[in-house]
Amino acid sequence: MSEHAVVGKGVPRVDALEKVTGAAKYGADINFPGMLHARIFRSTEVHAKILSIDTSEAEKLPGVHAIITQDDIPTGRAVFAKEKVLYYGEPLGAVAATDPDIAEEAAELVKVEYEPLPVVQDVMESIKPDAPHLLNDRTKDGPRRRVITRQLKKLSKETGEDNSAEIERLNAELGGLDDEIYYNVAGETHESAGDVEQGFAESDVVVEGTYTIPRVHQVYMEPHVSVAQAEPSGKLTVWASTQGHFAIRSGIAGVLGIPLSDINVVGVTMGGGFGGRFNIQATHVPAVILSQKTGRPVKAQLNREEEFLDGRPGAGCVIKLKTGVMDDGTIVARKALAFWDCGSVAGGPIANTIRIRGVYKFPHLQMDAYAVHTNKSGTTSYRAPGAPQAIFAAESQLDEIATIIGMDPVDLRMKNMREEGDQVPAGATEPIVGYKETLKAAADAVDWWNREKGPNQGWGVAVGDWTNGCGPGAVYVSVHEDGSVRLFHGSMDITGTDTAMAQIAAEVLTVPYEQVSITRGDTNSAPYNTGSGGSVVTFTMGNTAKLAAEDARGRLLELAAQRLNTDIEHVELRDGKVSLTNGDAPKSLSLGELAAYSLSTTGGPIVGKGSLSGRLSAPAVAVQIAKVEVNPETGNTKVLRTVASQDVGFAINPIAVEGQIEGGVVQGYAWSMMEEMQYDEKGNVNPGFVDYRVPTTADIPRIESVIVEVPAPNGPYGAKGVGEPSLTPTLATFANAVTDATGVRINDLPIKPEKIVNALKSNGNGSR
């Protein structure tokens, strides 16, 4: 946009040089003299009672300095398993030694005795009464039982009327619903609007399906790592490769039971996170406690196999989905029952099952979601947690409906899309949104209504949505005597958010981008900051940087007015100078001159401050269209073309924004075509890149990004969060394209070649 000088331009990132020269220091690159190396020893059983842990042989190995187990955790909070292991690879303790190879050898010398217990890996098995009960046996009622129980309660409250016949009938019905009691439930969430059963009764067409989405790993390229140094005073310094160093500080303080002020966390450059690098992870506490025990710096680092065995991947789930529509395509009702596999730790993005409502308006909705335990590691966020899974189910089913009622899939979506002021099912009313614009942009980019396809080729479209978060953050801006501008904050940068902040400061202070630099502080020096995830950073920190720069601008104008003997209304900041707007002779002062002048004023040096804790964010949407070709003999599928349009509000740095879109799309294809963490009674069976294949340059064509800009009222220059929406529609886009190419629909991800071949066989047709 021409009205801006710096924002909206694809300038190189502030960290470009250090990244392309190998100078950037990541977690594993932090080294200190005398540093020890930690190795975690792990369960070799999937579900078992621990009878004994014997570390005596390991202790004897020369070079071993300390070994810790759960008994060394001061607060007793669970860090290592003590009584029982719940998955293969669960941490039992850690060793510190002078060399990583010695630490590994020592870990292998630890002897553990177990009493094996029965294993359950499938959520649909785990909810049954005869499944092994992994943690507290918290049984839960299912959705139909809940409705009846609610009716019973209501009836028994109504006085003066004899409801006994009705109560009896409902009790009998309840008795017939024993299959609705779920076991191993770790959490649940419910949402409803209207009356979904009535909605189905009124619908012309009702479609039902079960969708299975596997657990996948974030596969950030740098495995978890932390370095800790305990000082004799008791103070701790931790170098953490993390999405948010303030959360690491509070996490460690909690486990150790010590004050926040005793811990300084230095956030170092991180090799990707995608949600998997929030909060304390496997390496932080072991490094800290081993350093406390030995008085030496300790580095704890996972390898890739440990990442798969003991990382916190994105949750898989089974979603039963039902949608009712009228013959003209109007969506009437939708109902979801979801079981999320949260592994051995309560969690899982159950609340985001609500994403099945998509960006459509319809009156009747019901959503019941449960988190269910299995013998796997726990889960955590993965880029738009829960949304790709829910949207895969929703957008696959919508395509099926389009085929049944004979309507074009883009038209069907366009017809039902919400606009500003529309009611969000079980939500508020929609603010200004760019759903239709974004769908149209994608359709136009491929000339959708004139699309052509050869034999075994197909087109697919899907729509995904997400709303960025906004967390607390603060920025200081200083202006120096040479006219340079420096930003200081405590936000971790992965995707180029520092660059966006620098661009914004340059824009406000009207200086060249190159004149702005940026420093990230550790938790001792920087103001508090929310973690970098949930697409919050550009929205939050962009706003904060803008506030700080505007604050500095105010001070510059004030100083200039003073210096030029005029009122603040008669000066303006432009091209890095403050000039008189009313004088006869042009008079101006540069930023550098003003900064130098400020040093001898009563107000002192120029510092701008921006600080905020929340602003209402705006929903973003991503629409993707793919053209694929399926080989009906082998099932191999090639993505021939892929277009990704996204409403980003305003692209502060279009190159960075495209990069976010492209990266998300490829992660989406990975999930749809190839990635899946596989488990059996022995635990995770594909803990490496040979069996857990991720896409490379050879697998995916160029992504065609289309940037749509419907400004967010509260975003900096209108920007919305861009990191997460891009992954949300890809899974369904691919599935829909494969169906268009083959005539068969596969609701069980990933859509691997053998599944296509089998589906074609049972469908009795080769190709179409």
Binding site: V219, M221, P223, T269, R304, E662, T696
Partner: protein, 159 residues
């Protein structure tokens, strides 16, 4: 464990070291010599983050023992630019936005450099296959391929 004497060059500097036979070239470069630009993403030869150039060939240094580097010439990411002057592949990654977190970047740049040193005319589809041993989880590869294509152009012009 007994250490073996080895002698080889890294970025032109002679290194004479005593190395345990179990240490990989990657461990020697990062931990013994202290050049941390080369990254470890998997330690099984499957991600390319540790790619260096040994006697002109791209090598995943996690799969080569340090002792096998004896007598060889090793180039790492730290050895391909001069102060104030990036290698064309680095320059192209910078300009095209061919990185995000940057963890795969040193390995990718070294693999691309070796590829283009060998054949700066390589067509895109062959390039995509040749670089298929390097995983990037952030970029989706579109801008990486753009960068390598643009570097190829520069290198052809410079040749």
């Amino acid at each position: 464990m007994r250490k073996h004497p080895i002698s080889f060059t890294v970025n032109g500097d002679l290194q004479e070291l005593f190395v345990e036979p179990r240490k990989t070239l990657l461990a020697v470069i990062r931990d013994t010599i202290g050049l941390t630009g080369t990254k470890e993403g998997c330690s099984t030869g499957d991600c390319g983050a540790c790619t260096v150039i040994v006697d002109g060939e791209p090598v995943t240094s996690c799969m080569m023992l340090g002792v096998s580097a004896n007598g060889k010439e090793v180039t790492t990411i730290e050895g391909i630019s001069n102060p104030g002057e990036l290698h064309p592949v680095q320059q192209a990654f910078l300009e095209k936005g061919g990185y995000q977190c940057g963890f795969c970047t040193p390995g990718f740049i070294m693999a691309a450099k070796a590829l283009l040193d060998d054949n700066p005319d390589i067509p895109e589809d062959e390039m995509r296959h040749a670089l298929g041993g390097n995983i990037c989880r952030c970029t989706g590869y579109t801008k990486i391929i753009e960068a390598v294509l643009s570097a190829a152009e520069t290198m052809r012009a410079n040749a």
